[in-house]
Point group: C2
Chain length 325, copies 2
DNA sequence: TTGTAAGCGTTATCAG
DNA sequence: CTGATAACGCTTACAA
């Protein structure tokens, strides 16, 4: 079903149908005839033809590289919320860690003439982002800072710093920090460094802190902390880079000490304020990030960029809330 | 940058460029010249023009209506995995509960000439799905059964039945079931009915089971179960429709009994096998669903539908695994 | 193997 | 207000 067919049925020109759809000059009479024809035929205009002609898709491409589920769905929901209210659509794509997959996904978004791209990622931004810059498509990066691009992210360093400060550590406290390995700067290095700096502030020397490293799953945290405890070391605090790792740590502690609240059991902290963890093990010290707000802000910045392409790049750092202390 | 410009630069016709891109007859010499021109110009072909011409987008639209985060991201990841390996792209859209939003999103997918649509939803399928049927676009529904459509879903009734059977209930056990309210059949009615049927099998009369209802969050579960316990009733088992609700229940129990393992404290079960919950409170009886496999199966069925449009609708019911008993 | 040319369904320009 | 008509960038007969 096309423009023309509807026009014929309504006894008008195809231009009139187009005007009907886009709100141009049109007599009331034709307006009604066209509406009836559309209703009758179930006509759906072709976005491809429109985009081809207008060179504007009014669509923002969003690439979500796999991380924390609650972060991803929070950000996505903030983005959709903002864009839905405005005049933009979104086209989301999940991608895994695979570089090839990311590149292919980016290409396919570019081919669709999207007006802007939002990259939600805690992993390094792929070099293919150059494609967009060459194509003069505005880019917003969520979750990390990339030099030369507009970014929205959380202050992971500050959050970790404040969290460490809020713990009731004394200079004598025996502290372990369980890092998450890999290329994820915000979850990894940023939190670790902020944490150590925060500890330093309350008098815990850095070389007194046992730092070890694990993966992203609950089970990774479990195994790592079990080993840590099996080594015979004793800790007052085991601080984890994510709530999932913290959950694993709690399991290891329970196995060793019988209960996570045993008097000699180490206290555990995490990041992310997972509601299930807080309910079952809480309150445990953690940090809450408002992912939905993050999505909304990223969308706002994209719209700014779209309105004024000459605008200089910005970097927005969002706050956080230390909980459970 | 267009077809033609690249052609000119390479000294060939635009048809040759098209052949280069799509793998048609082409001399090695021109092939090289075109490759060089593309490289040099950073040319990206317009998908819109191609789709307009070929009437095939090789893209599957996916609508994810907001539910359980782990379900959503699992299904999405299964879908992407399958389609990425094949020759299809995907275009995801998150939508909230809002009917208007769903309708708008569906329209915009239709306008883009997607080849098929996958609806991931535990909420009722909106009537707008008719749009697709009218447009003869293949539809696969994930998460529930809709008469007349191809569906992939989990056997929630069976899972609940088996879970109830696996609990060590006796005819004398005092059992509460915490339902999740609302229009979500699979999480709500299916699990509740299956559970009650399973209890019946082990001799627990239905009218001995206290059924109450709450929302989807941890806090909903907490408040409901707190009230339940405050009423003075005593239970051996409190079985919850989701792991989030179960986490809330555990919090309420801990408050009342001091510990979730107190000898008189009710045992709790959930659905979803949340790794954090299992680590911290576990093992607690729950059911594991393989969401990624669900996504893969849905993608497979879509591809079947695409290959053979005359194929009759199918309904696939996936299994589950009872854990923590 | 190659090029020419006719659309695909829109929208925008330009006369009426 | 309205209707022809020319693009938009691509693929694909068809002809060479």
């Amino acid at each position: 079903m096309t423009n023309k067919e509807v026009a014929e049925l309504a006894g008008v020109s195809s231009a009139a149908v187009s005007r009907f759809l886009n709100g141009g000059y049109l007599s009331e009479e034709k307006r009604e005839r066209i509406a009836a024809a559309i209703e009758q035929t179930g006509y759906v205009p072709s976005a491809n033809a429109r985009i081809l002609r207008t060179k504007k898709s009014d669509t923002i491409g969003v690439i979500l590289t796999k991380t924390d589920e609650s972060a991803m769905s929070g950000v996505a929901s903030g983005l959709e919320k903002y864009f839905f209210a405005g005049d933009y659509g979104t086209s989301l794509a999940y991608v895994g860690d695979d570089i090839k997959e990311q590149a292919k996904t980016m290409r396919s978004l570019l081919e669709r003439q999207i007006d802007g791209i939002i990259l939600v990622s805690s992993a390094p931004v792929p070099g293919d982002i150059d494609l967009y810059i060459r194509a003069r498509v505005p880019v917003v990066v969520v979750g990390q800072h990339v030099h030369g691009l507009t970014c929205v992210r959380f202050d992971n360093f500050g959050a970790a710093y404040d969290l460490a400060s809020a713990l009731r550590c004394t200079p004598e406290s025996r502290v372990a920090y369980v890092d998450v390995a890999g290329k994820y700067r915000s979850f990894g290095a940023d939190r670790r460094k902020g944490f150590l700096a925060g500890l330093e502030r309350v008098g815990v020397e850095e070389d007194r802190v046992k730092v070890c490293s694990t993966g992203f799953t609950v089970n990774d945290g479990y195994k790592t902390v079990r080993e840590l405890l099996a080594s015979g070391s004793v800790f007052d605090y085991i601080c984890c880079a994510t709530d999932s790792v913290a959950a694993g740590a709690l399991k290891a502690i329970r196995e060793r000490y019988g209960s996570i609240t045993a008097s000699r059991a180490p206290k555990v902290s995490g990041f992310g304020d997972d509601p299930i963890l807080q309910a079952v093990a809480g309150p445990i010290p953690s940090v809450r990030f408002d992912y939905e707000e993050c999505g909304i802000k990223a969308a706002e910045m994209m719209v700014d960029l779209l309105k004024d392409r000459t605008r200089t790049n910005m970097s927005l750092v969002l706050g956080y809330q230390v909980v459970g202390v």
